[in-house]
């Protein structure tokens, strides 16, 4: 009996002593938030790659100002040394403003040189990939309205409604590793004005884009759209090609630069999805770039004060 209680007491004493020594550590563990609760950040450096928009959002109270440029054909009939490999021409210039209403809702406004398109868009981050992989994907929904204010010959637009086009897109991305991100974008485009009677008013397309980072600030990007259209597939008069862009991405703190080569002449989906008639193999690809500059309208952070 005596022996038993001694053992009991000493075990108890040891266990109390042990738990005290462990106390600070175990309390820290209890209080620490789990690492995995976080959302995956920086799937892409910018809300735009070459052709595609990405699931990356402009954060609340931030304004992303972009200038996107596409030069003329590098080779082919309109390229070569006489146009300094297309640098004398610009097939499209796009000025874009994207503002973060919240971290998950962005509004964007832009203007293209190509068919003088004005566009207004909303993008909503429906799902965000989490670090614990409970949510393996990010999904953003995009709705865009394009309007062509250009002055054209009488009768080109049968009515005012033909000047409008509507784009809907689900952008699905995954950051597989620190350096590799991939995204797919099922897309539907509804146009008021089509090219001929056989041309589909409603076009379906699938975008695929990837980014691979070699260093923290330098990576390569590839961007491609597959367009489902019988009119484009076997057109006797005009050849249509799938838009493809390849490029570099360089981040320098406040700016993101994308330097690319792309066959599509136009920059905005509403333009390049139906109208890409340039072929890489015929030298009809062009140099292009995107400059993105982020402006922040957040309040200054207060300084930590002594309690």
């Amino acid at each position: 009996m005596k022996y038993k209680s001694l053992i009991f007491i000493s075990t108890f004493f040891i266990s109390v002593g042990f738990s005290n020594a462990q106390e600070v550590d175990s309390l820290m563990n209890q209080m620490s938030p789990k690492k995995d609760e976080g959302k995956v950040i920086a799937t892409f450096k910018s809300s735009r790659l070459i052709l595609s928009q990405t699931t990356t959002m402009v954060k609340k109270n931030n304004l992303d100002f972009k200038v996107v440029h596409r030069f003329g054909d590098i080779g082919g009939d309109n390229g070569g040394s006489k146009t300094l490999f297309g640098l004398d021409n610009s097939s499209d210039i796009y000025i874009d403003f994207d503002y973060g209403i919240s971290d998950r809702l962005n509004i964007g406004f832009g203007r293209s040189k190509y068919s003088q398109l004005l566009d207004l868009q909303l993008k909503y981050a429906l799902l965000q990939q989490s670090e614990d992989n409970k949510m393996p994907l990010s999904v953003s929904l995009l709705a865009k309205t394009g309007f062509e204010p250009q002055k054209v010959v009488q009768g080109y637009y049968a009515n005012y409604g033909e000047r409008f086009s509507y784009l809907g897109q689900a952008i699905i991305s995954r950051k597989f590793s620190k350096s590799f991100s991939l995204q797919l974008s099922p897309t539907v485009l509804q146009r008021g004005k089509v090219l001929s009677a056989n041309d589909e008013e409603t076009l379906f397309a699938l975008g695929a884009a990837a980014r691979y980072k070699f260093t923290k600030r330098f990576g390569i990007v590839a961007d491609y759209y597959l367009i489902k259209s019988d009119f484009r597939k076997n057109n006797p008069t005009t050849n249509y090609y799938s838009p493809l862009g390849l490029g570099f991405e360089i981040e320098t703190g406040g700016h993101v630069f994308t330097l690319n080569f792309v066959n599509a002449e136009a920059i905005v989906e509403n333009n390049f999805l139906p109208n890409s008639t340039s072929s890489f193999t015929k030298g009809q690809y062009r140099f292009g770039f995107t400059i993105s500059r982020m402006f922040s309208f957040n309040k200054e952070q207060p300084i930590v004060k002594q309690h």
């Binding site: 209680s5 109390v16 600070v24 950040i41 600030r217 320098t252 930590v304 004060k305």
Partner: protein, 185 residues
């Protein structure tokens, strides 16, 4: 015999209970980082740090989630996490050490202290002795400390291709109120 055992048992409980009175917790440690740079200053604040302090043994630990540091510029915040701190890999900045001076809980006042231990930032541990103040006010305590962290000490690389130069030294400020730990919680 059973009487003695139960008395011992009880006193041990009391002992254990008293021990816990010496443990203080905070889950709202404020952490500020500040660095002057030619183009724009780098400043961020987090209010989500946690800390446990065992007054009797002098043991103190801090844990600051890197992603909880909020910047004025969201892009700077993202670059800070993605390029410098690599917070996916190293989600916390940690400190684990001992307060070198004794604190008398029953006496109100400000105690200047030094704390020695390991500062773990960006997954690289560095032995440090840091100055700070512990304030006792009617049984509750608060801490304050201001110290420098050198990027090179913690293997935080500053790339050449950055238009805005980033300072090599970051000033860190830590401040927070502690509550006594209640085991019944």
């Amino acid at each position: 015999m059973t009487k003695i055992a139960s008395i011992l048992f009880l006193s041990l409980f009391l002992f254990a209970f008293q021990e816990k009175q010496n443990i203080f917790l905070s889950n709202a440690i404020e952490t500020g980082i500040y660095s002057e740079a030619p183009l724009e200053n780098i400043a961020a604040i987090s209010k989500k740090g946690i800390s446990v302090y065992n007054i009797e043994k002098g043991e103190i630990q801090f844990n600051i989630p890197i992603k909880s540091l909020k910047f004025k510029k969201s892009l700077m915040e993202e670059h800070f996490n993605e390029n410098y701190m690599e917070s996916d890999k190293y989600p916390f900045a940690k400190f684990k050490g001992k307060v070198n001076q004794a604190i008398d809980l029953s006496k109100n006042g400000e105690y200047p202290v030094t704390v020695s231990g390991d500062l773990d930032v960006h997954g690289v541990k560095k032995q440090r002795t840091i100055n700070g103040t512990i304030k006792v006010n009617n049984g509750s305590i608060s801490v304050f400390s201001k110290f420098d962290v050198l990027c090179k000490d913690h293997d935080i690389k500053i790339p050449q291709l950055v238009f805005q130069k980033i300072a090599e030294t970051i000033q860190v400020t830590i401040s927070g109120n502690y509550n006594p730990y209640k085991s019944s919680k």
